[in-house]
Amino acid sequence: MPGKVVEKQTPKPRFINAITGNLGAILVGLKYFANPNRFTLKYPYEYIELRNTYRGFIVLDMKKCIGCMSCARICPASAMKMVKVTVQEGKKPKPYPVINYNRCIFCGMCVDVCPTEALAHLPVHDVVYLSMDEMDLDLERFQQKVESPSVKEGVPVKYVFDPEKGLVKVPASEGGES
């Protein structure tokens, strides 16, 4: 059963609306003045503990990588490229991916396409780099798990859905699975 068209008309303003409309608007305003509903995140004093499905920064597990280059080939922003590295003495150099966060759009396709799960997202979205060169990671830094700068002093929080308030900010420890 597909959707159907319903013809409607905008409510015509009556004279009475000059009173009820003003009153209604002021009452709604007063209601929120008395009982505000706000879920502002006081970043960096608080930070969101992201879900583990979040498409955040990416980390490479070199042991799992087989050098298939799929990740570099699928990357829509050409953020990932392959470098040849000699891992063991006497062996042929193998290609490994490195990432350039100047370009990455966090589409997560590289992670999804990797046949061995060598790449993974971290639940981090707010790393600070001091220069653009620094954002071009080499193989070693690509394997380190970056940490959000707000972890040090901030309090982790979580947002849970609520039918009355929309979102409610709770401490991460009691947020449960969300």
């Binding site: 305003g29 929120y32 003045f33 505000p36 706000r38």
Partner: protein
């Protein structure tokens, strides 16, 4: 030694000086305005799912943010475009600020004659007259800016002011008519006991004056002459730094002055307090009562910003000439009726 202190006190509390410079003049007005701006931002934030100013002083609810903003305005570079008419461009906002503050001197804040700044016999007329001067300079500032948006803005300003200051004049005078006097002291003193406050005996005039204050002092979102999304900043488009701050400040100060007038005429001034004859009980306390009432009036205006949108200029004028002026005249008629029946006799 005590003579010294007495002399000093007499000088400081010499009403014409004290009222213009300290309270409710420059110093108190600045404090009230800063408080009101903070209150406005916090109120709007509360209604709008936000927190508002916070970071600078979390304990005080971000109150110091306002001083930070003030400092920023004070030290920002003042850019004076080459194409402007310099003397007017610089002079007009300053004149407007001083003139918008002037009416505080013509208003009494106590019933003790020793503390009148001026002879009070025609103080209502004088106050109303003084309060209508400053808009001319805003129009001049816009004209001197040599900017399309500024010209449109000052044009709007003149339209709005003509319509709504007329309303303020009519409604304020209806208070005088009802009390059979243009002496603000008499008007206030007539309003005892408290159910005789003119807001209760003449709600139509009170409501009209309140609406007129809203529109005439161009606070967001009733700032038709400065509507941001339409004409950038209206007459003040070319101003920057402290000059812009002064322009914004003088709008708030005007609102403060009108709130004082509203308090005296409709909210019973310093009543229910009965001023004594000494400095503290005869001058300071009634003054504080008046200030608190005026601040509450301003706070209500501030709250309304969260509820309303902006009128279109022709609709605002239409409302003024076709709805509010008749209402104001009805209020005036009501005042005449009260005078006839001797409610305040």
């Amino acid at each position: 030694m005590t003579d010294w202190i007495r002399l000093l006190i007499d000088i400081i509390f010499w009403p014409p000086l004290f009222q213009l410079v300290i309270a409710p003049g420059l110093v108190a007005a600045l404090l009230v305005v800063i408080f009101i701006i903070w209150f406005e931002r916090k109120t709007a934030a509360r209604v709008q799912m936000r927190i508002g100013p916070y970071h600078i002083s979390p304990r005080l609810g971000g109150f110091l943010q306002l001083f930070a903003d003030l400092t920023r305005y004070a030290f920002q570079e003042i850019i004076i475009p080459t194409a402007v008419d310099k003397p007017i461009f610089i002079g007009a906002p300053l004149t407007a600020l001083v003139l918008s503050l002037l009416p505080v001197v013509s208003m009494p804040y106590t019933s003790t004659p020793y503390y009148y700044p001026l002879p009070m016999d025609y103080s209502l007329l004088l106050t109303v007259a003084l309060s209508t001067i400053s808009p001319i300079f805003i129009v001049a500032a816009g004209w001197a800016s040599n900017n399309k948006f500024a010209v449109i803005g000052s044009l709007r300003e003149s339209f709005v002011i003509t319509a709504y200051e007329l309303l303020i004049v009519i409604t304020a005078l209806s208070g005088g008519v009802a009390a059979l006097s243009y002496n603000l002291v008499d008007i206030v003193n007539a309003q005892t006991p408290f159910y005789k406050w003119m807001i209760f005996t003449n709600p139509i005039a009170a409501l009209t004056m309140f609406a007129a204050i809203l529109m005439a002092t161009s606070g967001f979102p009733f700032e038709i002459p400065e509507a941001e999304n339409e004409i950038v900043a209206g007459a003040f488009t070319e101003y920057s730094g402290l000059m812009y701050g002064i322009n914004m400040g003088s709008a708030y100060i005007k609102r403060f002055v009108y709130s004082l007038l509203f308090t005296l005429v409709f909210l019973g001034g310093w009543l229910p307090y009965k001023p004594g004859i000494h400095l503290i009980d005869g001058y300071i306390i009634p003054l504080v009562v008046v200030l608190v009432k005026a601040t509450i009036v301003m706070a209500i205006i501030s709250f309304l910003r969260a509820v309303y949108g902006r009128f279109r200029i022709d609709q605002a004028l239409d409302g003024a000439w076709r709805i509010f002026i008749p209402l104001a005249l009805i209020g005036f008629g009501l005042a005449l009726l009260e005078a006839y029946m001797g409610v305040y006799a």
